[in-house]
Amino acid sequence: MHIEKHPVLGRQLHKPVTIYFNDQPYQAYTQQSVAAALMANGIKKLGVSRKLVQSRGLFCSRGRCCSCYMTIDGEDHVRSCLTEVEEGMRIYPNMDDPEVRREIDED
């Protein structure tokens, strides 16, 4: 749930944007991090751990713990707690290790 009216800071959520998680549209607001915007829509599981395949979500929200890795706009292993949402952003959970080396577009 988004906090529309904050007891100290008042109304802060002004510019809504649409983001896509697993190709489903969700509402978020600019200035929110990807991890936070997903949580506001009830999505807490952002991926799975690499070895034991256990659920992972936002833990430190500081970019330190790397528990919130996701694939954002085609880029793997992005810390979703430090990445601000943008209109039309396409987000997928982190299900395994990324390809470390991939072909770079020649053009």
């Binding site: 988004h2 802060q12 506001a40 256990q54 659920s55 707690c81």
Partner: protein, 359 residues
């Protein structure tokens, strides 16, 4: 890129160091991985006190705005959304914008890298819905998002009590506060008693035995002194204390000492806040875990010392200001932390750990 002073970290300590150096005409560069300056102050809605005498008591985000306002007009280059990833052989910092890496050569470096929250481990503590108190505070005050509906707090420090109150204020039901010690650790007792008055139980001598849930936390078992109870929650906020962030100091080859009162391993430094490497200074939580007022003071001390080294201020003037700031630090800072700091200074010449990360 060349700069007089490279400040790593744009939180309260980094900003106050920037004010001290830039206001004396030095060319200053601040690098921070966040998209805005102010560090953790940005989501602190509580009133901060005590602050250094030049600031009246104010809320955390107000202090962030004030510090940011102060550096405007000075010669400060901002590298936001940038990270230091290493150092070149000539001492230049390697800084990335997440795409390319470029060198920044600085005459002096001030590291104000802050602190990281520590975890409290119990079975299944890594499940979604279980997070640090700082993360919960960030979600409600920076992102304007409810991290859950029904919560428990593990730990009872001032920060934990403050966060519990902020969670309640946005409508989250705090079901219990779990503390492994026999009493609340918060120094400001009125916050703990405010929570008690609101009917929130404190379970002392207790800990989480296990968390359960399908993909996210749904239930926890709490081991009380004489029984185990089960609560349904969708949010567990853990307060494991904080430890200085040391990565950059390792890369710089600084020496370390262990000082319990300052949060464990801390780079060694002298009264000018110069580390074992003479071109590197430190400030803020990186110099030992403390509260916001003292963090600002350490930033000011480091900034003045660097200004002196770069001849932007006379040694006599620097000494006088530094002495006054140390005196104020002694008055503002928690007694135990301050005495730990003094012990740490005395150990400057006898490092416990050095060159431990040669690869």
């Amino acid at each position: 890129m060349k700069t007089d002073v490279l400040i790593i970290g744009g939180g309260p300590a980094g900003l106050s160091a920037a004010i001290e150096t830039a206001s004396r005409g030095l060319d200053v560069t601040i690098v921070d991985e966040a998209s805005q300056l102010g560090g953790q102050l940005n989501q602190q809605t509580q009133v901060l006190r005590p602050l250094p005498s030049v600031y009246e008591p104010m809320r955390g985000f107000e202090l962030a705005n004030k510090l940011i306002e102060q550096i405007k007009g000075f010669n400060v280059r901002l590298l936001l959304n940038h990270r230091v990833v290493g150092f070149y052989a000539d001492g230049s910092a390697g800084i990335t914008d997440e795409e390319n890496v470029f060198p920044v050569k600085a005459k002096k470096i001030i590291v104000a890298s802050g602190a990281a929250e520590k975890a409290v481990a119990f079975p299944k503590w890594t499940m979604p819905g279980i997070m640090t108190i700082g993360a919960a505070q960030t979600l409600i005050n920076r992102d304007f998002v409810m991290p859950g509906k029904e919560a428990v707090i593990v730990g009872s420090s001032d920060f934990a009590m403050e966060t519990a109150i902020q969670l309640m204020d946005v409508g989250i039901r705090v079901k219990a506060i779990i503390e492994k010690q026999s009493g609340a650790l918060a120094k400001e007792q009125e916050k703990a008693s405010e929570l008690s008055k609101n009917g929130i139980p404190f379970y002392f001598n207790s800990f989480i035995k296990e968390a359960r849930g399908n993909g996210q936390v749904e239930q926890i078992d709490i081991e009380l002194p004489d029984e185990v109870i089960t609560l349904s929650v969708d949010l567990v906020c853990m307060d494991g204390g904080r430890a200085p962030i040391l990565d950059v100091f390792y890369q710089l080859g600084c020496s370390f000492g262990f000082q319990e009162e300052l949060g464990g391993w801390v780079p060694q430094y002298n009264h000018t806040l110069q580390t074992g490497r003479e071109d590197v200074y430190l400030a803020g939580n990186a110099a030992g875990i403390s509260t916001q007022g003292p963090l600002l003071l350490t930033g000011m001390i480091a900034g003045i010392s660097v200004s002196e080294e770069l001849q932007a201020i006379s040694p006599a003037e620097a000494n006088e200001m530094r002495e006054a700031l140390w005196k104020e630090l002694g008055l503002l800072e928690d007694k135990e932390v301050y005495s730990g700091r003094i012990k740490h200074l005395e150990n400057f010449t006898s490092p416990l750990l050095k060159d431990q990360f040669i690869s």
